[in-house]
Amino acid sequence: EAGVTQFPSHSVIEKGQTVTLRCDPISGHDNLYWYRRVMGKEIKFLLHFVKESKQDESGMPNNRFLAERTGGTYSTLKVQPAELEDSGVYFCASSQGLTTTYEQYFGPGTRLTVT
């Protein structure tokens, strides 16, 4: 069974540019999550999709971040325009069920560097 995949693995962009990150969850997982880790700090929740609907987007930092999950399969996270403080590792995770007992399976992350 393929795991969660993310693309690209690394991205280096200049301040003011746009970047789009992609996440492909494990097949059949309705729940998809985005998290971010800024260097040396906690991994922080960004948002949660159930199928194509946003269940919780309370962690999105501001309106420069836009997440979509058209068709309830893969998801994209767009940052436009990027700022220096957006640098970090963006993780995607998926889980099978809605109950809190299900563990989340994480992708390898996308390391975003904004210069």
Binding site: V4, Y33, E42, I43, F45, A93, T101, E103, Q104, P108
Partner: protein
């Protein structure tokens, strides 16, 4: 608000010795607790979880963790460390019945096992 504390940025242990990586949590309600490990250039891998029942939970790669409600702790342990255990370890919590399945993470502890 829920939070997780990992008081040690780094833990050093010699191969063959027992290891402990500390985690304490703060939640309003009953916690579900998780440990994840991140090897270099890899995503987060699920190690173990506490949902209910026995306070001692056994997980992957010989790791175990003990849930201590009175001390609000969930320390990760292994009787005999291996060099290959060197990695970044994250403790995480969810609140049972909160309606949300997102994880709150600690900032991570780097485990270095020397030969």
């Amino acid at each position: 608000a829920q939070s997780v504390a990992q008081p040690e940025d780094q833990v050093n242990v010699a191969e063959g010795n027992p290891l402990t990586v500390k985690c304490t949590y703060s939640v309003s309600g009953n916690p579900y607790l998780f440990w994840y490990v991140q090897y270099p250039n890899r995503g987060l891998q699920f190690l173990l979880k506490y949902i209910t029942g026995d306070n001692l939970v056994k997980g992957s790669y010989g790791f175990e963790a003990e849930f201590n409600k009175s001390q609000t702790s969930f320390h990760l342990k292994k009787p005999s460390a291996l060099v290959s255990d060197s990695a970044l370890y994250f403790c995480a919590v969810r609140v049972k019945g909160s309606g949300y399945s997102t994880l709150t993470f600690g900032k991570g502890t780097m485990l270095l096992v020397s030969p």
